[in-house]
């Protein structure tokens, strides 16, 4: 009996609750455990030993359980508790002073606190920048060391006719040249993923010189895959255009949409989020990096502030990424927007759900996306979005959101002003979303992925060492002519 092998190398090595690409692999693993049956087995790639090993269903279930989300809330709860206690202690210490000394002491403490906080922010930014430069310099000095074409292949549990499925951080964890040779020798098929080609298309927005490495990775995908699942038409188009550019073979592709249902089990909401949801705010959920274009919102807000508009708080939820240290400092120091832009990170799923539910609306000015999961998540909560018109985002929002050129600051200023001053317009949009938006679920994602895997299993034509579906762009043009 032929098997489907789900590679869970990424979640096996992941130490935090799964997000992004890791979440996709985790959800497919969950689906496979629940519904895959005996035909689905699990494996991982040991890069240092250069071999694939089987993982039992119990091992896979244990790995998945250990990476589950709720633990995210626990450090936050702990921090909130410690912060609350520290505040209490300071207040008690102040109250113990003579009355005339309490206010000066408070002012002094606030000044010391601000200095310490700003110094820490500066040091952290400087450290992050230095770390990025070091990492980029190392990447530039270390070209790819290609393995000899005929190095001995390690062991693998796959057999002829099996289907190997991988969707994780393969550019970091896998060797696709090795997979190609293994596939050629053992005669199995490969179902791989394409999330986006941003490091190839927009390398200036990525840390270090990653474009060449990702180029090598995607050329490996083109050579190895019997089918590639793309998360959007935009990504599929980018992949095909990349193959044309470098001369890699074209392979079969299909679209699979990612789920956007949040898990809301578990823990309490922290004080910080609880305070926010009682206020008026606009929400942007995304890592904070140059590609996500928080800059246009900051600029729009400075203009709106200058106009004297009463502005809701702009809440940014996401980890700080590369190349935004100066912008983050502007958020802190620019008196025009200082109190109006807040950055949150380490937000749990349940806190994120609350933030979505109570936001006036969301924004998504990203320069480029492979899909746009936070946009979909916002729509799942019935929230209108003012959204960039780039790449895959129109596929996510359809005609339910409003699109703007991400570089057009005046347009963002004007439309933010409009929706801030016209809540009835937002409400109208939300009505349409509630009536028409259908939330794709992770279960549907898993079902689709394994349906494609099974179709490869059943397709006895092609596969094996020579990918029967490989056609270069020139051959396609010949056939068309």
């Amino acid at each position: 009996m032929a098997h489907i092998w789900l590679d869970i190398t990424t979640i096996k090595g992941w130490q935090r609750p799964p997000v992004g690409v890791v979440r996709v692999e985790a959800e497919c693993c969950r689906h496979a455990l629940a519904q895959g049956g005996a035909s689905v087995r699990f494996c991982c790639f040991e890069r240092e030993n250069r071999r694939y090993v089987e993982l039992s269903r119990d091992a896979a279930a244990q790995i998945l359980a250990q990476r589950a989300a709720p633990s995210v809330a626990e450090p936050e709860t702990l921090r909130a508790t410690m912060t609350g206690r520290a505040k209490q202690l300071v207040r008690r210490a102040i109250w113990m002073l003579p009355a005339r000394r309490q206010e000066p002491a408070l002012r002094k403490l606030a000044s010391v606190y601000r200095f310490a906080r700003d110094s820490y922010a500066f040091a952290r930014t400087a450290w992050q920048r230095m770390h990025d430069e070091i990492r980029a310099a190392r990447a530039a000095r270390a070209p790819i060391e290609a393995a000899p074409p005929d190095e001995a292949l390690g062991t693998a549990p796959f057999r002829s006719g099996d289907v190997y499925v991988s969707m994780g951080l393969d550019w970091d964890h896998k060797d696709l040249d090795y997979l190609y040779r293994l596939k050629k020798q053992l005669g199995f098929k490969a179902l791989l993923f394409c999330y986006d080609l941003i490091p190839v298309l927009l390398p200036h927005l990525c840390v270090g010189n990653v474009a060449p490495l990702f180029g090598h990775y995607f050329s490996g995908v083109a050579w190895c895959a019997d089918k590639v699942l793309c998360i959007s038409e935009s990504s599929r188009h980018d992949l095909q255009r990349f193959c044309d550019t470098v001369g890699a073979p074209h392979c079969d592709t299909a679209i699979v949409h990612l789920g956007s249902d949040l898990r809301t089990n578990g823990s309490a909401i922290g004080d910080e989020v609880a305070d926010i949801v009682d206020t008026q705010y606009i929400l942007y959920v995304s890592t904070i990096e140059r590609r996500k274009n928080h800059e246009v919102l900051y600029r729009a807000y400075t203009r709106l502030a200058a106009e004297g508009i009463v502005l809701p708080t702009l809440i940014f939820v996401g980890m700080q990424g590369w190349g935004v240290g100066d912008m983050m400092a502007d958020f802190e120091l620019d008196p025009r927007v200082k109190a109006k832009i807040r950055v949150l990170n380490h937000v749990s799923d349940i806190e994120l759900a609350e933030l979505f539910r109570h936001a006036r609306f969301t924004v998504y000015p990203s320069l480029y996306e492979g899909w746009g999961l936070p946009l979909a998540e916002g729509l799942a909560y019935g929230k209108f979005c003012l959204c960039s018109n780039s790449s895959s985002l129109p596929e996510v929002g359809g005609d339910l959101v409003e699109y703007l050129d991400p570089w057009d600051t005046p347009a963002w200023t004007a439309r933010l002003r409009w929706y801030i001053e016209h809540p009835e317009a937002v409400a109208q949009r939300e009505t349409a979303i509630r009536e028409r938006y259908r939330t794709p679920t992770w279960d549907e994602t898993g079902t689709a992925v394994f349906a494609h895997a099974r179709s490869l299993l059943d397709d006895t034509d092609g596969g094996g060492p020579l990918n029967a579906a490989v056609k270069s762009a020139a051959a396609l043009r010949e056939e068309a002519a």
């Binding site: 070209p143 074409p149 490495l213 180029g215 090598h216 073979p249 043009r477």
Partner: protein
Amino acid sequence: MNPATHRPSVLMLTTYPIAKPRHGGQLRARALCDAYRAAGWDVATLAVFEAEAYAPDARGNDDIEFPPWSPYRRFAGRAVPLLADYCAGAFAAADDGAWPAIRGKLDPQLDVVHIEQPWLLPLAERILRERGAHPPKLVYGSQNVEHGLKRAIFEQAGVHGADDVIAAIEALEVRATQRADLVLAVTRADAAVLAAHRAGPVCYAPNGIAGWQAERAKLEQWRAQLPKAPWALFVASAHPPNVQGFYACFGDSLACVPPDSRVVVAGSVSEHVYRAACASRWAPINLSRLQLLGELADDDLAAVKTLAALYLLPITQGGGSNIKTAEAIYSRRPVVATSTSLRGYEDYATLPEITVADEVAAFRHAVMRRLLDEPPRADTGPDTPLREQLLWAHCLQAPLAQIDALIH
């Protein structure tokens, strides 16, 4: 002198030593010398060569260095790069250059002075002048339309403001064509160009090859070092158009090559292919698909050429014809070539194993298919008449007869 016993003598003048031929010019000059000897001629060779470009063991006993610090390295007082070949002529013929040393090496009995490429025409003219009333015959072996090739090399190298240099080279070529008693051209197209400048004969003398036979031990040695999957061979010298053509044909990316295969590069072009790969946007792809062998000894190269599954001829510029083209056709392996590389070998373009591809997409597609598919087998018989015509002995038969007729 008894005509019946007199062995005709020829002095071969080149701007590169030919004791250990590697690049096309050396191979052609060496083959001409061998053809002369086979026809019963006494052959003397003299190269006036860039001292920094050739190792000591590559030099012949009578070869003369053209030092890098020589004032003759300058053109009209300017230091112009990539021009040592042109400048060697004036140096060789000058009293304060190489002439005193050269004069002492000359055989008093000389029937033919043969210059390969026009560069040493000034030296040949001085020799003819010094011989007085009965000068030797002058044979000019053209290998290319040199002024056009030099212009292309300058453009690629970013050398500007050299129109006067190009004009001087063209004038030298025309003078050589007009002055020579016989002109040899490597392609029929070049012959037509040269014929326009003279009333006398222009003889078609295509490049040929020597053929090769690999030793079993060398085959086993190289089989162990080269990929097991079918792989493609690119052999070339460090001549700048070779590197430029390689990446132009592949569109700067070798991703059309299967991951378990390689483009195996041999010859002095290897280092330049590597450097260009490192500088490319697709460096990791390209480096993962290259296996660089550098310059190989003849027996190693014979084994590598025998083991190749596919030959690549990514030539995009330059006139003349290419010895590597002849070798690729002779190999009976599949060949992916540009139409420029088949210049002079147009008759072979319709062979089933030859794929002509001038566009990047077509070139990549052809390489990919040839490396993945079972290659079509050409004639399996030992040398068919068509392939025998590629050998030097056949290519130089008519030219040697015409040269012989000059002195009889």
